[in-house]
Symmetry: C2
Subunit: 402 residues, 2 copies
């Protein structure tokens, strides 16, 4: 028995890395710079309590919350996406082109259902978000890396690889990228949309961090430059509302939206109703702007403390990014340190007890790339603990160089 489908083998290695990611989030003994969960303090518990009391109070809304709902999501939430999230970013959409998904990860999954046959090629940033790569591998795609620099995906390399590999899809996290924290420049955003149109390739723009910006200027999404429907925007409510609600959305053209109905129906019929209703009301009742300001200021402080501590405690020769938002900073250590080994020691050594994510797993190309890199998440840790954790980790690293 247990003749598992081929896709389960294709994803095996990445799945192991993702399993560790989930594991790293929950050990209470650790100071965890692993995971990418929002801060406890950034979760609108009081607001949700208030809304939920009112929503379930009437029988009509109560029944709506507990009965089957629309495959592509409730109208209220699709309208919120259009008015509160896309319009302010220069993207004019119709609610009929929004599909509500079970989080941002399900958005990626559904788009793979639509487009990816085994051996199709997906171009990804190098490094890219390992959990998305896991999804691509489950669909038996081949992931080919595209170079990145401090302005994000290098469009010259992208164009060359589009010509060479004729990919089905280009996967980009343009804003405060996971894992690097790097933001794709405005000019390149425009260019990538154009490349999608010119070479008839889907640009999957995954943008879950864009609304938690702490410095610098807001940029238009790639989708804002798309004139042919080749760019598909996927996003998540996990960072701005609640991760546990598992809510995300896709904005795409009519033909794709229509196919998404089928894929969503055959995945889980529709997204859970109560989270959708609570989230829609969160925006419609005007709670978002103040909440948004609160979480940005919370995360800004944590980012500042983290960057300061890395500069202070990590050894000379350390390189790091300067994220203008999001939850991650990417650190490159002096070459001889293997971060996978470092991590094993760092979580088990009773004097350290600090977790992070080793860099190697974020490189789809393998071959030891990123071996001396680490993704450090600052969002979920209080400033005092950031100081303690970064100091301990920095001292451990320094001890390796002696």
């Amino acid at each position: 028995m247990d003749k598992f489908a081929k896709r389960m083998n294709s994803m095996e290695k990445t799945a192991g890395i993702v399993k560790k990611l989930f594991g790293a989030m929950n050990d209470p003994d650790l100071i965890s710079f692993g995971g990418g969960a929002p801060a406890r303090e950034a979760l609108p518990v009081d607001i949700v309590r208030e809304i939920s009391n009112e929503v379930i109070r009437t029988d009509k809304r109560g029944i709506e919350a507990l009965q089957y709902g629309p495959v592509v999501g409730i109208k209220d939430l699709r309208e919120v996406v259009v008015k509160d999230l896309l319009e302010p970013k220069g993207v004019k959409a119709k609610a009929e082109n929004i599909v509500i998904t079970g989080g941002g990860m399900e958005a990626i999954n559904l788009l793979c259902q639509l487009f990816i046959d085994p051996d199709d090629i997906i171009l990804v940033e190098s490094p890219s978000f390992v959990h998305s790569v896991e999804v691509f591998e489950m669909f038996q795609a081949r992931c080919i890396p595209v170079d990145m620099d401090e302005d994000g995906m290098v469009t010259e390399d992208l164009e060359e690889k589009i010509k060479k590999y004729k990919p089905k899809m280009v996967y980009v996290i343009p804003t405060f990228q996971n894992p690097t924290g790097i933001t794709l420049s405005q000019e390149r955003r425009k260019k990538i949309a154009e490349l999608g149109s010119r070479y008839d390739t889907i640009i999957l723009e995954d943008d879950p961090y864009r609304d938690i910006r702490y410095s610098g200027n807001d940029l238009l999404p790639i989708k804002a430059f798309d004139e042919t429907g080749h760019t598909i925007l996927a996003n998540s409510f996990s960072k701005i509302f609640s991760a546990g609600s598992r809510l995300g959305y896709i904005y795409a053209n009519d033909e794709i939206t229509d196919k998404l109905f089928d894929a969503k129906s055959a995945t889980n019929s529709h997204t859970a109703m109560l989270p959708q209703i609570l989230c829609a009301e969160f925006f419609k009742r005007g709670y978002y702007p103040a909440h948004h300001e609160m979480i940005c200021s919370l995360y800004r402080e944590r980012r500042d403390v983290m960057l300061e501590c890395i500069d202070k405690y990590f050894p000379e020769g350390t390189k790091r990014t300067t994220p203008d938002g999001g939850l991650f900073v990417w650190v490159e250590l002096p070459g001889i340190i293997d971060t996978t080994e470092l991590l094993a020691e760092s979580v088990s050594n009773p004097d350290v007890k600090v977790a992070f994510v080793a860099g190697e797993g974020f490189y789809a190309e393998g071959g030891g790339k990123g071996r001396n890199c680490m993704r450090i998440s600052f969002g979920g840790v209080e400033p005092d603990k950031i100081r303690t954790g970064a100091k301990r980790l920095g001292e451990l690293i320094c001890s390796k160089l002696k």
Copy 2:
């Protein structure tokens, strides 16, 4: 662009039928015997309101509800499945072998992720639930029908087809089957578990209706007879708690549970937290037994009224099943009537305005089978409306025979 993946073409025809199913649920002008949604009156709105007030009141539970959670579901709900749902049915499971899913449909989807490569064969009942067949087709499986009689899937035919086709999986809805309402006999349950073991074939037991029984004796699940782990039990909370919460579960052996972690993680990270918590508390606080009794008595009346009305208003020569539970009765009309045409008239004729589901779509084999059959759902319609609707529909059918 829009070179959709092959799977999207494979599922196209069935997807069209499923789209109509979803459509049929929501037209307020119709008396709808279509859809399979639970009755409004069967949704525990008051109980959920009470629980949710308490659950989100404390910050700890509030944060749990809004933060990322475990990939395979919360411990509380997995334990509820073991103690409240499986143990009383003669199935001894460990909570570690339960995976919480986004409804019963996602359970089917995840098991296809695990096991189905393109062109793999799945044996299904003839007729079978069209929405599941849609999922199988999205995974590019070939569905081969197995005969049914009044005791469910005919095990002689099943064994023959297992030998002939060497299927990856056998899909069975053993209790109050969708669409027929037929229940698989105890003897055949045992036999099917044995065939799975003997021929090294997965038996996917999909059992969402089992707990809403109105007459006859409770039977053991197929899984209770499984000695080798070849039977996998999938179930849903949609009929006994809430459909909109999108909660279901899979009970499988260790190896499969481990792979389900990967498939679930790459589908949508995990199931929404608040619905899981509310559902777990619904059972843990002891609300289920009284609620269960209430919904069974509600549906029992509706079934009785529906069967009585079919016998009274439908023409001579009509055959129907006698479901001991669930939501559906299967009707076979005198041969010359095409139910797809009948449906078109029945929903549009202002003197009728009654919906049902035409039988043809439930036959994976096609070829016009079931053309004179219909699935009639009695669960969501009040008794008075059942009487009105069945009378109008019966009169329309009789008018065709004149």
